[in-house]
Symmetry: C2
Subunit: 370 residues, 2 copies
Amino acid sequence: MAQETGNAPVRVDLGERSYDIWAAPGCLNQIGEIVLHIVNPTRAVVVTGTGAVERYGRLAADRLDEAGIPTELLRLRSGERYKTLRAVERLYHGMLRSGLDRKSVVVAVGGGVVGDVAGFAAGTYMRGISFVQAPTTLLAQADAGVGGKTGVNLPEGKNLVGVFHQPRAVLMDTETLATLSARDYLSGMAEIVKHAFIRDADFLDWLRWNADRLDPARRDAAALAQAVRRSCEIKAAVVVADETEAGIRAVLNFGHTVGHALESLGSYRRLTHGEAVAIGMVAACRIGEELGITPSNVTMTVRETLRSIGLPTALPPGMEPEAVARHMMADKKATSGRPRFVLLQELGQPVYGVEADAAAVLRALERSRE
Amino acid sequence: MAQETGNAPVRVDLGERSYDIWAAPGCLNQIGEIVLHIVNPTRAVVVTGTGAVERYGRLAADRLDEAGIPTELLRLRSGERYKTLRAVERLYHGMLRSGLDRKSVVVAVGGGVVGDVAGFAAGTYMRGISFVQAPTTLLAQADAGVGGKTGVNLPEGKNLVGVFHQPRAVLMDTETLATLSARDYLSGMAEIVKHAFIRDADFLDWLRWNADRLDPARRDAAALAQAVRRSCEIKAAVVVADETEAGIRAVLNFGHTVGHALESLGSYRRLTHGEAVAIGMVAACRIGEELGITPSNVTMTVRETLRSIGLPTALPPGMEPEAVARHMMADKKATSGRPRFVLLQELGQPVYGVEADAAAVLRALERSRE
């Protein structure tokens, strides 16, 4: 990774739907001028969560108002269990009460749930109006803020309903990360490191060199902006190559085949997303070893990087390899019951769509007990 | 309009999202091979209405099954008041129970409501899966079958939620029109004639020459296929020029500014959509006369064509010009309370986005009392 490159936005090049990502400490203060310049909307609604994030929602609404955009604030209850059609429906009613028309904008200020629900509402209100995103968790900044995926859960499963709706702009203010719990902070860090693992060995070195600035106890906002920025560049390059998920975008799922099974086994409470993915990345390396694809020194680097950050790398006590394997077979992305894996040939060099036989997966998971 | 040109499908050219429209008597019998050839889905769900249309839904499901596509039938309650988020939600559950995945297809067999609701479900299930449409009313064949608009109503208003989701294929079987009520049949005919008024004076001549074959009492399926086909060609050409409704697509709203107000004033029960649009087209001609845009002989042709078909051309008793004008001001498409009109300079030559002063509109509506 090159030296620090200032605060020029990252361009996500999707033709007519291109947009910029700003990643900088305090950039939420610029939201008024950015939205005015890029969208020039008739009105705005800021959608935010409840709790600590609300003050950032208010801040954004104030800045939009000051820029001359009539703005109202709508709150969603925080938490994955409120990522429902009912929440979207409540937003529609609030958007209508606020008088949003086809030239208005929805601004999401919050974590992944707020972004997914507000983005889906924006993508379907009057067949789609402008959407601006200001993710306030490290997980959402590293991951959910790029890609255009929006949607909600159904009782039958997660993210079963949604649309691709690209934002007009994304603002990632790393000062908002100060109030996250250490676990949530590390959950996002897992996705950032994942981007380094799959695409950029230099970025991995930079992350390791700057580990103290990125430590949960310190959270240097400038270093975080650099990390988030590079993470977004990597994800944006992959998304641009494959906007609707036909192929190469699969590499972003490194660690997620096992990770999703672990999250689901723990009923989405025992492990954070990042913790599950961290364990899943090490397991994927071991599956790669079993198949002769991943060199053992790569596994070692992945494992040690994650451990030094403070992320788990072994199956939690009580999660048995057989149960994990069974859950993977049931994953909706498994074609005819055979899970597919993203594996590393080298740091920064993934292969995707690899099928592994059940015996190799089980051996790898056995080795992931510690 | 050229002489009858056989049953080659009409191509709607939207780049990667291009698709064909088949319009022919009995073409619903080919749905199995068409869907197999074009989509080759893992499974299908046929969404249909209740009542007379159900047999066409069953027919389509049988043909799909015979083509080797595992298919289930889902029924929506018929009627505009069931065009709701709740109906979409029920479809999601049915689609999940049927095991639809990202490579599956939703086939809508029914009128406009079935197409709009099923299309929205298809456009949002797992962020969008394939959709095939077989409209079975003349209104849906003439109008709703082209354009990619899908969606539902909210308590606050019609079509406030939706997505653009283009079908992979459209089948318009004119034999399904035999069981429509005469009023519903004529409602669709109003849209077909509208397409002739705004784009094709030769087609208008053809319609007038073939009036006896198109009479509600006769409904010659071959002549109807020709009429529907040409109507779709006209609409498709306009939609291709303006996929997401920024400009020229507005010409399709000829007669609709006044028409929507009349429908709303009659609580969507007193007048069919086509009846309201027929009255609205004559009113638009008179507004055009007031503004010096529409020659009076154009108004006369529009009025006489509609009357000869059996459509109304005057405001129904009790609908006062002032009340109609007030409703137009409240229309969601009116920018800052000023309704915009599509007016005819000549047959086949519309202008759009025309603002008219309230006095001219009132004078024109006064003349529309008879």
